[in-house]
Amino acid sequence: MTTFIELLLGGLSIGSVYALIALGFVVIFKATEVVNFAHASLLLAGGYVTAVLHDDIGFWPALGVGIAGAAVVGSAVEFCVMRRYRGSDHSVLAIVTIGVDIVITTELVRRMGTEVLSLGDPWGDDVVTVGGVTLAETRIAAFVAAALLITVFLLAFRYTSWGVSMRAAAENPQTAALMGIRLGRVSLSAWAVAGALAAVAALFLTVFPTPGLERATSFAALKAFPAAILGGLDSTTGALVGGLVVGVTESLATGYQSDLSFLGRGIGDLAPYLVMVAVLLIRPAGLFGTKELARV
């Protein structure tokens, strides 16, 4: 039972990190209808900046610069590439983000080489034990930080004028533009926010018990895709639920690996995708996604 609770809590914690990434992904999709396959590379960029700077300027400033850096990379992609596309086919733009992803990831992986970079977080490998349940401090920090950020984001999305313009643009871009909402700024800010959230997620994907920032981090970041999809691409609630589902599934499948040995090694990495496929079979638009309605 203790193991189960430990795994569940660990899963919720890593799930909240996935939710952070998925939230950025969903925000971009809502604001611009583009599926951003370059999201993992934004995350890698944020993590890399933090990893390089933390020795010189300390962890917290480095994290701040990392977040800002990822936001800048995100908005640069929007400004230099997405905005220049004059066609209307959003699936072509999705492939463009793949091109962007290839370029950014190649550059970062080349810089990192085979090293595993530490982000210099203050938690180290300390653990907290409450009533027999042991949990790493990093996991608690991840959960608290993610919960805080998500709350702030959702409040901003609901109550600030930025949030209102974002939602209006998602609802109907033409009308929003006629009402004086500058769509360019909306999509620019969506990319910046997504980059910033991804940079925070990069920190918590690389802290203890994972070894650090490396090439494989971007594969971990990819798990936010099933999270966003199984929740529903156009739903922020969906991103949260999807993130938690993916996190808990992965944690339980990894934890009970020895009981699932007939499925082979490394089933934990696969489990989120299997859950996603199962959900999509029943609900093709995800759990909270809007069902497609079209007027012909």
Binding site: S91, I98, I229, M276, L280
Partner: protein, 381 residues
Amino acid sequence: MSEAMPDTAQEPSVGPDAGAKPAPAGSGRTLTGPLRSIRTYLWLAGSVLLLLFPFYLDRFWLQAGLFAMAAAIGAIGINLLTGSTGQLSMGHAFFLAVGAYGYCILAGESSTENGHELSGLGLPTWLAAILAVLLAGAAGGLFSPIAGRLRGAYLGIATLALIFIGQHVLFNAGSLTGGFNGRAVPPLSLFGFTFDDTEVVVAAVPFQASEKLWYVALAALAFSALFARGVLRGRPGRALNAIRDHRIAAGVMGVPVARYRAGVFVLSSMYAGLAGVLLALVFQRTVPEYFGMVLSLEYLAMIVIGGLGSVAGAVVGAAFVTLLPQVLTHYSDSLPLVSAPGTGGLTPGEASRYLYGAAVVAVVLFLPGGLTRLKKPGEKK
């Protein structure tokens, strides 16, 4: 097609006495006639050149060319799916793996290799190759409950799951796939002729596996390209384009949307399977790492660079993406910025990834038709 358009458009206006006013139609024909024959000659010259390559090129370029041809077949397949029907697929590498490993398992004998007990059916290799293609199609068919229902990004990410499932199976089903080390590929043999490294001297040129396989690959590519062209130019092609342009309107006009979408998914998987078989034959050893996500992304890059929805585009894109690293490797000494792996500079692999990543972006922004449509349709071809 486009050259014939003015003729057919003018004919009704000419009216009943078409013979009396031959000028407009005739001038059209004299323009297209020579042009068309020049094209025919170009095609002929190109084919002869391709047939002669094994006699003149050294093995490095033959290998590169073989990879390019195998990739071209796979790219034609994904272009049918993503380019012509608008179904984003990131799982193409999975079907390539099904083809490659399917061939190994069907054709290979049961043996022990690197401590792994490998099982194989030991079928005749030509039969194994055909069955492997069908197997890839069946794998695509199994996925069709999902492929037929999801759209756009949902489909793209759902097919991403295939990659991870594929990698998991490849690494874990050791008795079939050989696990991490992969398994050796039995050489293809057809009517008693084996396409392996035993030397056969043809016109004073020693023929080894690359030279022999060249003709297999060429035949496979020609067949795949012509078949895809037939599909795209006929009724199914129009239906597929209609689904891409407006799914609901296509359905209203009587196109069985779900069936076509599942069908094109199966067809595209079969193309991937054939490409996988060829790649396995060229590599002579299949390893699971190769069939990862990067491979899927490369195939998407190919069709965007070459041109979405056209067979020629897929071939051009495949040649671009597969030959680029080879060319950069070969000339890394004489190129600026690029240096051999391990010397600290930009490796050819990295340089080519930068180039085709940037090419994808540049092509979409500046050449929306891809490389094969550099000239606008109104201009002289």
